[in-house]
Amino acid sequence: MAVLSTPKSAVQLASKGRPLKEHLFRIALLSSLAIALIFLGMLLIYTLEEGWGRLNPMLWENMPSIRRPETAGIQSGIFGTLWIISLTALMALPTGILAAIYLEEYADRGRWYNKIIELNISNLAAVPSIVYGILGLGIIARWLQFGFTVMTGAITISLLVLPIVIISAREAIRAVPPSIREGSLALGATQWQTIWRQVLPASIPGIATGSILALSRAIGEAAPFLMLGAATLVRFNPEGVWSSFTVLPLQIYNFISQSREEFHVLAAAAIVVLLAILLVMNSVAIWLRNRYQKRW
């Protein structure tokens, strides 16, 4: 974050000497940014326009209905998604953060097994999500006999986000200056005390941002759930971790493939709800980062 402020001053200094090149570079940067923003804007305008008429309380008060698409809601999908994401957070965040602490603070990087672990975590972060779906179906749903339940979905999604959580938590922990650790150790603190009282509090903004972004990615996943065989037409909310469920992206996928036009409008409204949930999560990430940020 400190990096962001330096280029500005560099630009100001350099613009006196080589104005043309600097201006061209700035235009290139701004137009790259504009491409991302224009597409986001187009997506938002398109879905809002399409789904506007259905953005009313019926959306979260009612269950999906194949017979009455004009009054149907997406309550089961909203609740399913919340269940999955909450359980995923409970499972993946502590595991991921602890793994990151081990890798950064305790692991001897010279050891071959630590090298293999590091290599594999980077690899896992790049594995397509449908592969996690196959894993979840084969091992969790069938071999462990968890069936097509909230638990199976949450474990699968936890495995999917775990590498991302580990990598971002490691980055955050690594960003804590070694002088902080050395100072703490020099004052007689043990390694555990140093990590718990100095390193972790200082890396909280980074860990939180990375974790929430990882969960945001998980919220939009449809592929692993398709593979897992989460039901698409569910008219009840999950009542526990062993309940059948559906998630918002699957409902959207299903609505879009229906023949009646009303379902396509409903799908657009559901996309707006999904985007709203994502926006809330990302705002929390930004707020946490700003709230706890430290500068050295």
């Binding site: 194949i66 957070a89 974790s211 569910v234 008219r235 999950p238 971790v241 396509h264």
Partner: protein, 331 residues
């Protein structure tokens, strides 16, 4: 401790921001055993059934089953019915592994799927719940293809046509030289199996250079957007898109027949009118909630079909469905 609290707050931040919205059901989380126990309930009184019925299979049949589940839910709100749309093949895979109670299918069960079921000693029965007219469509601009024979369809879709039949002229010399743009369902679909079986003579045998899609709306848009477009899907998708598409009449040797509710019901729309099935497992039918659901489904089959915009059964087929269910329950 200040830091400990802060750390805990952060690890839970994602959860909390969400749990805040979903707070309503937080209290039920503590009873994970409750749902599994419910399906084993020994209730016999039809007054208040409970439990969960798992259904998966064809996405074509799913809206019908879901409509049945919705109306049934008004009478039995505590019976939970989850309907998946893994496709006919995907549905049978789960059904024969004992993971679902009822399988939706847009084609009859295959021999290898039967063998899978037999290996897990899962017995089942086949119930025909509706009919469908598999509709061949062309865009409105297409003025030449009002009626196609099965042979002409085969010429366009058979594996040998790949890379060769690229223009309407190649199907029939009388047609204009308009590039042929083919759209159809993906190979996992029961619709694909049925069409290839009836038209090309072998299930799954199709040319591969067409645009496949699991979403029938893509086929609608693809065909509507290309003058030389040709595609096929279930009748409901045509009914909803009559303003963009024309249905081709099919001549199987006894004249051109328009796909419609009547011709599908009376069986004159050959060979593309097809039955749609549900496959309940014999073991599941022993459970009172499954038996009650199937009774309801079958007793109200034609009003459910109309509600979900399916083609209802004719009187003879309806009578057969009822006797099939009685036989299944007696077994």
């Amino acid at each position: 401790m200040k830091y400990a609290g802060r750390l805990a707050a952060v690890t839970l931040a994602g959860v909390l921001s969400l749990a805040a919205c979903g707070g309503g059901d937080a209290g039920t989380e503590a009873e994970p055993g409750a749902t599994t126990a419910a399906s084993e309930g020994a209730e016999t009184a039809p007054a208040a059934l409970s439990g969960e019925i798992k259904i998966d299979g064809s996405s074509t049949v799913a809206p019908l089953t879901q409509a049945a589940a919705e109306i049934f839910g008004e009478e039995q709100p505590t019976v939970k019915i989850a309907v998946g749309t893994s496709g006919t093949g995907g549905g049978f895979e789960k059904f024969c592994a004992g993971e679902t109670d009822v399988s939706d299918a847009s084609r009859p069960i295959k021999d290898e799927e039967k063998a899978n079921c037999a290996a897990k000693s899962i017995n089942f029965s086949e119930l025909t719940v509706a009919v469908d007219a598999l509709t061949v469509v062309v865009p409105k601009e297409n003025t030449w293809a009002t009626c196609l024979t099965v042979d002409q369809l085969k010429k366009a879709w058979e594996p040998a046509a790949e890379g060769k039949v690229m223009s309407w002229k190649d199907i029939d010399g009388k047609f204009p030289d308009e590039p042929l743009k083919l759209y159809g369902p993906g190979t996992d679909s029961g619709t694909f199996d049925y069409f290839t079986g009836e038209v090309n003579g072998e299930e799954g045998a199709s040319r591969k250079d067409y645009s496949p899609s699991e979403n029938d709306n893509d086929i609608v848009n693809g065909v509507a957007g290309a003058k030389g477009g040709l595609g096929y899907f279930g009748f409901t998708y045509f009914e909803e898109n009559m303003d963009k598409l024309n249905a081709v009449q099919i001549d199987s040797g006894s004249g051109c027949v328009t796909p419609s509710v009547e011709t599908a019901q009376n069986g004159t729309y050959t060979p593309l009118s097809r039955p749609l099935f549900i496959y309940p497992s014999t073991a599941a039918v022993k459970r009172p909630e499954v038996a009650a659901f199937l009774d309801f489904y079958v007793a109200n089959i034609n009003s459910i079909a109309k509600d979900a915009k399916f083609i209802p059964l004719n009187a003879e087929q309806e009578a057969k469905l009822k006797s099939d269910l009685t036989a299944l329950k007696a077994s």
